[in-house]
């Protein structure tokens, strides 16, 4: 139903527009008298308004969002230290180096693990929590605020706080000892077998509130009548959840998964803040983005860094397009048929 919303607004937009095109001649163009020259100047006036109103946003957007992507493709073909005009053309040399680099294979694997674990850890948990919180319960609004706090705090604060807590002599180990679980104490951040799980813990902690809030909003847009009908037919609470709620929550879940995938592929802040570029690779938490910053800007190899950026961009775009084609398309198709009813 998420997309049906969008489709509906599109449909709404089409019909009034169609009317305004037909009826616009009388309404907008000829307040005093519909003489030809006036009409033509009005049309130019409208083009002028469109240009003035939309121009600045489009220029800023093209300059700082679209242009860099093009620049990256260009710089990626050069060996370049970032000064002056790049001259040392190496063709696909940078790309060959990237794909031959063991460190890049590692970060790819880390990103894949993070992507899968984010979906597997957060998804089911968030769905269960949303179902529970969707029940009649006191203090729902305050709960909503509190579970969303981790999402609103900046990555730097999350990173600083958690790295202090997860230190060898930090609060988490201290708490375990206080609880008599001293045997569980470990090097949360530096042990390569544990660090990726610590990262997943922090990621889940920070982003699960967003998933829950999203699912709650999705749950509340499911029509009441369906639950009523099912209850009349004698369906139990869990049957209703399984047969009605979950399928109808599908579009929301799929959109959340899409956002989670894109976020996992771009993960940088938390890793870079907690581990830094050098420790991240020994602890096994480095990502494509930390690799890009470490090998590119921090090493002064801007040509190479841009090539890595292009690789990340293409990987993200490919996954996004595949996902939209094969997973989100179902939702759009459903929305379109709904729209025709």
């Amino acid at each position: 139903m998420t997309n049906s919303l969008g489709e509906k607004t599109l449909a709404e937009q089409r019909s009034p527009e169609g009317l305004s095109v037909a009826g616009g001649g009388t309404r907008r163009v000829s307040p005093p008298a519909g003489v030809r020259p006036v009409r033509r100047s009005k049309r130019w006036g409208q083009r002028f308004e469109i240009a003035v109103l939309s121009g600045p946003a489009i220029i800023v957007f093209l300059t700082f969002v679209i242009l860099p992507v093009g620049l990256a493709a260009y710089y990626g073909f050069y060996r370049w230290k970032g000064y002056g005009v790049p001259t040392d053309f190496v063709g696909f040399g940078n790309y060959a180096l990237i794909f031959a680099d063991k460190a890049f294979h590692e970060v790819l694997a880390h990103n894949a693990v993070i992507l899968v674990l984010s979906l597997v850890l957060q998804g089911p948990l968030a769905i269960v929590l949303a179902l529970l919180l969707n029940q009649k319960i006191r203090g729902r609004s305050i709960i909503r605020v509190l579970i969303f706090v981790p999402y609103v705090i900046s990555e730097v604060i999350v990173g600083t706080g958690w790295s202090l807590m997860l230190q060898t002599n930090g609060a988490v180990n201290g708490l375990l000892e206080n609880l008599g679980l001293g045997a569980l104490k470990t090097d949360w951040l530096s042990d390569p077998n544990v660090a990726i799980w610590s990262l997943m813990l922090i990621i889940s902690w920070k982003y699960i509130g967003f998933a829950v809030i999203l699912f709650l909003a999705g749950l509340q847009s499911i029509p009441e009548e369906l639950f009523e009908a099912a209850a009349i037919d004698g369906a139990s609470y869990w049957q209703i959840q399984r047969r009605i709620t979950l399928p109808l929550l599908g579009p929301t879940i799929r959109i959340w998964a899409f956002l989670s995938i894109i976020g996992s592929l771009q993960l940088f802040d938390l890793v870079y803040i907690i581990w830094g570029q050098y420790v991240a690779s020994t602890a096994g938490t480095s990502t494509m983005a930390t690799y890009m910053v470490g090998q590119g800007r921090n090493a002064g190899n801007y040509g190479y860094g841009n090539a890595v950026a292009v690789v990340i961009f293409i990987i993200s775009l490919t996954i996004a397009l595949i996902y939209q084609r094969f997973v989100l398309r179902r939702d759009t198709a459903g929305a379109l048929t709904e729209g025709h009813k």
Binding site: A57, F64, I147, V152, F268, S316
Partner: protein, 296 residues
């Protein structure tokens, strides 16, 4: 999209009544529900409390019992941070960057959304899709070439070099939230305005801007919090401590005073206050805006 926000409480009420009316057995679940909700909330909040409370402790306390409560409340750490000019300078930089980003996003976003929502012309769909596609690419992927671009513009180590890209990257969300919002303004209002002799632009300034305030607040808050929390862009652009925004400041402070854990925690918790205040005041709008943006 704000309609989702307003609809939330209503449908909640309806569900409650229905649940009771239809005798759906919900009572058994309550204690467990409350327990899990409480657990979830405490897990969400505990690390934040650790940061805030840690600022009220002494370093020796933190070393002896890292997970304890303050034995004696120390206000010195917070007082030190509040007296330090570095903190206020970085606070000021963050505030300038946040406000400028917000204003830029609101002004540019409102103008372009107005065109996309209420003018019909060829290429409108293409412009909308262009902005919508921008949603898929967070700033991380563009940061390396973006840094070079900002350097070529001579804006390195300058807050403007952070502000302009932030405006650009906040525009997709803004357009996606504002366009349906502006479409929802009834045509009759525009007709009435044009009968009264107002031009399209007059209509924009006199009617659209005031009517769009709720949507604008949502986008504005999202832009401000995004700017307040942004890390990778300032990390690349700002090299001089005097120009640091708070996230960079927190990081620099925590490596500079890594021994003084309590003071680091005090600095950290003070730097998250503005975003938290904005969030608690505008929680409904932010949540409605985010879920709306995702759905749109």
């Amino acid at each position: 999209m704000s309609t989702t926000t307003y609809r939330l409480p209503k449908s909640t009420d309806r569900r409650r009544r229905d649940a009771n009316g239809q005798r759906v057995p919900i009572n058994w679940g309550h204690p467990i529900t409350y327990f899990i909700a409480l657990l979830f909330v405490s897990v969400s909040i505990a690390p934040v409390l650790y940061i805030v409370l840690g600022g009220f402790r002494t370093n020796s306390e933190i070393t002896v019992d890292p997970a304890g409560f303050p034995l004696q409340w120390q206000f010195g750490n917070y007082a030190d941070v509040l007296k330090s000019p570095t903190f206020w300078q970085q606070f000021g930089n963050s505030a300038i960057a946040g406000l400028a980003t917000t204003i830029g996003v609101v002004v540019l976003g409102l103008m372009v959304s107005f065109v996309l929502a209420r003018y019909s012309f060829r290429g409108r769909g293409a412009i909308y899709s262009l902005f919508a596609a921008g949603l898929m690419f967070p700033i991380t992927v563009a940061i390396t070439p973006l840094y070079i671009l900002v350097k070529d513009l001579g804006l390195v180590n300058n807050l403007a070099g952070v502000i302009l890209p932030q405006i650009a990257f906040a525009l997709p969300t803004t357009v996606i939230i504002l366009v349906p919002f502006l479409k929802a303004i009834p045509d009759e209002i525009e007709e009435a305005a044009s009968i009264d002799g107002a031009s399209r632009l007059g209509f924009f300034f006199r009617m659209v801007v005031p009517l769009a305030v709720p949507g604008v607040v949502t986008v504005g808050i999202l832009a401000f919090i995004g700017s307040w929390n942004s890390y990778i862009l300032p990390l690349f652009i700002l090299s001089d401590q005097a120009n640091y925004t708070l996230p960079l400041g927190v990081q620099a402070f925590s490596s500079q005073y890594s021994v003084d854990t309590a003071r680091v925690l005090a600095f950290t918790s003070l730097s998250m206050i503005p975003a938290l205040i904005f969030f608690t005041i505008f929680e409904r709008r932010i949540v409605g805006g985010l879920t709306g943006a995702v759905k749109g």
